[in-house]
């Protein structure tokens, strides 16, 4: 048989193909990792109970293995002083998933794994066994009252937990797939709607979601009019010459200036400059503790608006340039003034591209973290900056941000290992938000191009 030789042509074809494949593979792997780990966080995994050959008993959720050792998430930080256990595989004598193992998420000290021994009611009753469990289930639904839970870990050490401390409670080993799905949905909902607890390693990320959205909304309120006006000026009003070309190149290049530099500008000009002056004019009584003279929602929005201005300007200009000259000339020939032509003909036609620009700007702003670290993001700010107290929207307050939360949880938290699932979940959320925004922009642009093509050919 003659073995065919791969020609030079073929080598380049396959090598360059490998580049495409590798890039896509890396992204797919990254997304898959983030999304699966992020969503798996809410899945109520079975709790294993182990008996070791030295008689020790351990209960925990298996989380990976390496070199003949298995890692278990054993929770109970207050009892054991740690939440992870490495167990040698050979040392395991027996393994099971007893149905009465309980998983409690507490507001302090993190989760607990163990068994329920008794519950106390407000009347001072102490219920045990099946009755305790029934009562607890009813209390969880809100039908009955329970004050204290008596718990015991697998080693037999007991613990009292106030019912108010319990964030959620389940018997994962008893759940069937339907229960687990329901619990998963409930977990996702709690993640989206609750405030963080236990040093950001537990609870939800609602303030961060809200902070991100509010900041991005304020930013787009600023960036849209100014970006569009600047684009209109550059494309429609200013005389086209070397100077406009220079300005256009400069604006385009500002999109390539590192975001942290915008952060530095925001800190120096908005926070210390404008904010400092505002403080000395209007909030002098509160000095030296700063009101606007420190990072906050307003300054963060303005900084990001500046950062995304080139995106909006470039997209809008592109849209304006696509409007056929014939239409403008037609409108002017019919006696419309320049402003009327702009308002009635040019802008409506360029509207979708402006929208694309704004969406791209929002997507970029939602993912930017570096400048925020300088102008107002907070590690923990459970109170959202919008409430019923005058002036309702607190522009000077610090806020939480999904992207910063990812950074902070992963790199500055007490127990990065324990925070990891939450980081993944937060990252998933961030990625989903940004992908949705970008897909919208891409689809919009696609339709837009199709429409313009039709217009040009007609």
């Amino acid at each position: 048989m003659r073995i065919p030789r791969l020609s030079g042509d073929g080598v380049w074809r396959w090598l360059s193909g490998a580049c495409v494949a590798l890039s896509l593979l890396a992204v797919v792997a990254l997304l898959a990792l983030v999304v699966t780990r992020g969503l798996a966080h809410f899945w109520p995994a079975d709790i294993e109970q182990l008996t070791l050959d030295d008689g020790q008993r351990i209960a925990g959720i298996p989380r990976g293995s390496q070199a003949g050792e298995r890692r278990y998430f054993t929770a109970n930080r207050d009892l054991d002083g740690q939440v992870w256990r490495w167990v040698e595989q050979q040392a395991i004598e027996s393994r099971g998933t007893p149905p009465d193992l309980l998983y409690v998420e507490r507001r302090d000290w993190g989760p607990f794994i163990g068994r329920l021994t008794a519950v106390e009611t407000p009347a001072g009753e102490r219920l045990q066994g099946a009755e305790a469990e029934r009562r607890l289930r009813r209390a969880l639904r809100g039908d009955a009252d329970v004050t204290t839970l008596h718990l015991r870990n697998v080693e037999g050490r007991s613990l009292k937990v106030a019912f108010a401390q319990v964030a959620s409670l389940s018997w994962p080993n008893r759940m069937d797939i339907g229960d687990k799905l329901a619990a998963w949905g409930h977990g996702v909902w709690r993640f989206l709607s609750e405030t963080p607890s236990d040093g950001n390693t537990g609870g939800g990320v609602w303030p961060a979601i809200f902070g991100t959205l509010l900041m991005v909304m304020l930013m787009s309120l600023v960036v849209t009019p100014f970006g569009v006006l600047a684009a209109l000026y550059l494309n429609e009003v200013a005389r086209q010459g070397p100077l406009t070309r220079l300005v256009r190149i400069a604006v385009r290049n500002l999109a390539g200036v590192p975001s942290i530099v915008y952060g530095v500008f925001g800190l120096g000009v908005f926070v210390y400059g404008l904010g400092g002056h505002l403080d000395s004019w209007f909030f002098a009584d509160r000095l030296p503790s700063p009101t606007f003279g420190t990072g906050g929602l307003l300054w963060a929005s303005l900084t990001l608006a500046l950062l995304t201005l080139p995106v909006v300007i470039v997209a809008t200009e592109e849209g304006l340039a696509r409007v056929p000259v014939a239409l403008r000339e037609g409108s002017l020939a019919l006696g419309a003034t320049r402003f009327e032509t702009l308002r009635r003909v040019v802008v409506p036609m360029a509207l979708p591209s402006m929208l694309t620009g704004v969406i791209l700007a929002v997507a970029r702003a939602a993912g930017e973290v570096a400048p925020l670290m300088l102008v107002g993001v907070a590690k923990l700010a459970p109170a959202i900056p919008l409430d019923d107290e005058f002036p309702f929207l607190h522009l000077e307050s610090k806020f939480m941000h999904l992207g910063y939360l990812v950074f902070d949880l992963g790199f500055a938290s007490r127990d990065a290992e324990a925070a990891m699932p939450l980081v993944f979940a937060t990252a998933t959320l961030l990625v989903i938000v940004i992908l949705v925004l970008n897909v919208t922009a891409i689809i919009l642009r696609h339709h837009l191009r199709a429409r313009h093509r039709a217009l040009e050919h007609s």
Binding site: A18, C19, V20, V237, I249, V257, G263, L430, N438
Partner: protein, 707 residues
């Protein structure tokens, strides 16, 4: 008679024209304002950085006369000049005597340390009076204590230094004998140094420098009562002034020929650093006095002919001029910030010298040159600007620039081949439909936030690579080989069984085989490692080449940031390649060239400027990327070329240090200088790239026009 409808029509038209003018004006005004605001970034950064390079100045601000007869003999002034101590021991202010500190002797020497040390007065009978301070550093005159330093002879000079537990006061008597008082906790011990001296200076941790003629000796005093001579050296000319600077590790020596030299304690405090450094001299007359200021390692040097110079330990002479009259002044005091020196002349005139040198520690040399810092024995580029207490700040931007460029370079090493390969593939080997599907996918990649990439790279990939280093390196070889092998295999199979290529592109089709290759390489690597590198590549590398391995290193940042800049590079390069007029490629193919020949000889050369501009823009992004570098590199400002060690980039440094830096300080402005560098670099690179692209577009248009 005019038709009313015409009139209203005319009015309407006027209104419309007004409106038009107004709207145009508004658009123009806000457009210009926006463009100006955006361009203001560069202006602001420049303005904020410029004060760093202001010249230092010493101004004689105010002159007044201390209206007091006794003041002529004043030996000490409070730092506001409102109270003074006369030679005969009276503490006075403008109204008169407040307290009497010394009864039957006169004050011959004064030493004042920082606000944790007492005020020491050396008396003519060999005793010292020590005025303690309260928690806020204020002197408690009523609790002055007495200790004996010399048996009979009077004290001639005193020097204070700090130790780990307290302070040590060294003194010299009129005969040149040297003794010291060591304070640890509540105990006070006297130590005698068996040597005579003309000048003394006290450093940190009990290091005492004394000079006699041209001989300079470093002593180590210790609380057990014994001193040891650590080093003896000869200077070129007789020593006329000695002073340790803030921190007590740097000694300034002034000599009879007007020369000033710096001697530094070696890192273990057991001797001097190898090389002394000399400073620009004021003149050729003897240095009469050195006044060390408590901040920024500044000092004033006065010489015999009335010249005065302001020096900084690392950046040298910052200012020189004439000193106020009366050299040396009888009493001098310095405020805690080191910005004001009160200076009492012989005739009782009080002058205030304002030292305006907020950024004296910054010069071209401190920013760019390797220097020997305190606590180091060789000249190095170092960055450690956020220091506490008496540590010496290290202000070289070179390690940060190095880290930035190193991270960007490694990112480019990963990204350029991948992105250009992908661009070539999609421009030359993909159908229009396939390309239309791939482009949005890559654009989505561009939208991935840096913080997500950084977190996965820093917390998942970095530990993984640390465990499977050999496997990762094997991957880099296996993937290209594997993909060519796949191509060959595909050809064999399709010849053999006449399989048809399914309607997916090579790029997408290769994903699964490549994933398999990756998996195989990773699972084979432990054997490889055991076979060649004795089981652990990292240990082997350390033993063979002395390479350290940090978990977060340049390799990881190259991969992570490479992934982040691939989309930018790809889009721009693809645009350049697919813009190459098809007639050129078709002509080449028609003349019998293969696809590869056409690619290398026609398409790539024509698109080269565009590809170059893509690479430049990609490099600009890599230089400015913050979150990935911050999360993946460990942020150690090292100057190592190693792929396996950490680094710190300018951008990450801004994110870490700027929130903590005091506004307007040297550190703050230096960070802003870093931001300005980033701004200028990216702006310049992008402008260049944009110009290249613009010219290329024009060229393409010409091609198309001719076609």
């Amino acid at each position: 008679m005019t038709d009313p409808s015409v009139a209203s029509h005319r009015a309407n038209r006027r209104l419309r024209q007004h409106l038009d003018r107004l709207a145009t004006g508004v658009i123009a005004a806000s457009g210009i304002a926006v463009v100006a605001a955006v361009l203001a970034i560069g202006v602001y950064l420049t303005l904020a950085v410029l004060p760093l390079f202001d010249a230092a100045e010493v101004k004689v601000e105010a002159a007044s006369t201390v209206a007091d007869e006794g003041a002529i003999h004043t030996v000490w002034l409070a730092d506001d000049g409102m109270r003074w101590l006369t030679r005969d021991g009276q503490l006075r202010n403008a109204e008169g005597t407040i307290a009497r500190l010394v009864e039957d002797a006169t004050i011959a020497a004064v030493a004042e340390g920082d606000d944790t040390q007492p005020l020491a007065l050396g008396l003519s009978n060999g005793e010292v009076r020590l005025v303690p301070r309260d928690d806020r550093g204020r002197l408690i005159w009523t609790q002055a204590a007495t200790a004996r330093l010399f048996a009979t002879r009077g004290v001639a000079a005193l020097a204070l230094g700090h130790t780990a537990q307290g302070w040590v006061l060294a003194g010299r008597n009129t005969q040149g004998d040297v003794a010291a008082l060591w304070r640890a906790g509540d105990a006070l011990r006297r130590l005698a140094v068996p040597e005579t001296a003309e000048h003394i200076a006290m450093g940190h941790a009990g290091r005492l420098a004394i000079s006699q003629g041209t001989q300079l000796t470093l002593w180590k005093l210790s609380p057990d009562g014994k001193g040891t001579a650590l080093a003896r050296t000869d200077t070129r000319a007789p020593v006329t002034a000695l002073s340790f600077l803030q921190g007590g590790r740097t000694l300034i020596v002034g000599d009879a020929q007007g020369e000033l030299r710096r001697w530094r304690l070696s890192p273990d405090d057991a001797g001097w650093q190898a090389a002394e450094t000399s400073y620009a001299a004021l003149g050729d007359t003897a240095i009469r006095r050195l006044i060390a200021l408590p901040r920024q390692r500044l000092w004033l040097a006065l010489d015999a002919s009335g010249r005065m110079g302001l020096y900084q330990s690392l950046s040298g002479l910052r200012w020189q001029g004439q000193a106020p009259r009366a050299i040396p002044p009888p009493a001098v005091s310095i405020n805690a910030q080191g910005t004001q020196v009160m200076w009492l002349g012989e005739s009782g005139t009080l002058q205030r010298l304002a030292i305006e040198a907020p950024h004296a520690a910054v010069s071209a040399a401190t920013l760019l040159m390797p220097l020997t810092y305190e606590g180091h024995s060789t000249a190095q580029w170092r960055w450690a600007a956020a220091v506490t207490g008496d540590e010496e700040p290290q202000y070289s931007l070179v390690p940060l620039a190095w880290g930035t460029l190193k991270a960007a370079a490694w990112a480019m090493v990963f990204a350029v081949p991948l992105a250009l390969g992908a661009a070539v593939h999609s421009a030359c080997y993909m159908s229009r439909r396939q390309r239309a599907r791939l482009k949005p996918a890559i654009e989505l990649m561009e939208a991935l936030p840096g913080v997500v990439i950084g977190f996965v790279a820093g917390l998942i990939v970095a530990p993984f690579v640390e465990r499977h280093l050999a496997g990762t390196l094997v991957l880099l070889v296996c993937v290209p080989l594997g993909s060519v092998a796949c191509g060959w295999l595909w050809r064999v199979l399709s010849r053999r069984w006449e399989l048809r290529l399914p309607p997916i592109s090579v790029g997408v089709g290769l994903m699964v085989p490549l994933a398999l290759v990756c998996w195989a390489a990773l699972s084979l690597s432990p054997w490889l490692e055991a076979w060649w590198f004795g089981g652990d590549l990292r240990t082997w590398m350390y033993q063979q080449w002395g390479w350290d391995y940090a978990q977060r290193n340049a390799l990881i940042v190259g991969m992570a940031m490479g992934l982040a800049i691939i989309p930018t590079l790809y889009s721009l390069a693809e645009e350049a390649l697919s813009g190459v007029p098809r007639t050129l490629a078709e002509g080449s193919l028609a003349l019998g060239a293969t696809r590869a020949q056409t690619l290398w000889r026609v398409q790539l050369p024509v698109a080269a400027p565009g590809i170059l501009s893509a690479v430049m823009i990609g490099a600009g992004r890599a230089v400015g990327e913050t979150m990935i570098v911050l999360m993946v590199t460990g942020n150690t400002p090292l100057m190592s070329p190693s792929l396996f060690e950490g680094l710190r980039s300018l951008a990450a440094n801004l994110a870490i240090e700027l929130p903590e830096a005091a506004v307007g300080g040297t550190h703050y402005r230096l960070l802003l200088l870093g931001a300005l560098l980033l701004f200028v670099f990216t702006f310049a690179v992008n402008t260049l790239a944009e110009m290249v692209r613009w010219r290329l577009k024009r060229r393409y248009r010409r091609y198309w026009g001719n076609a």
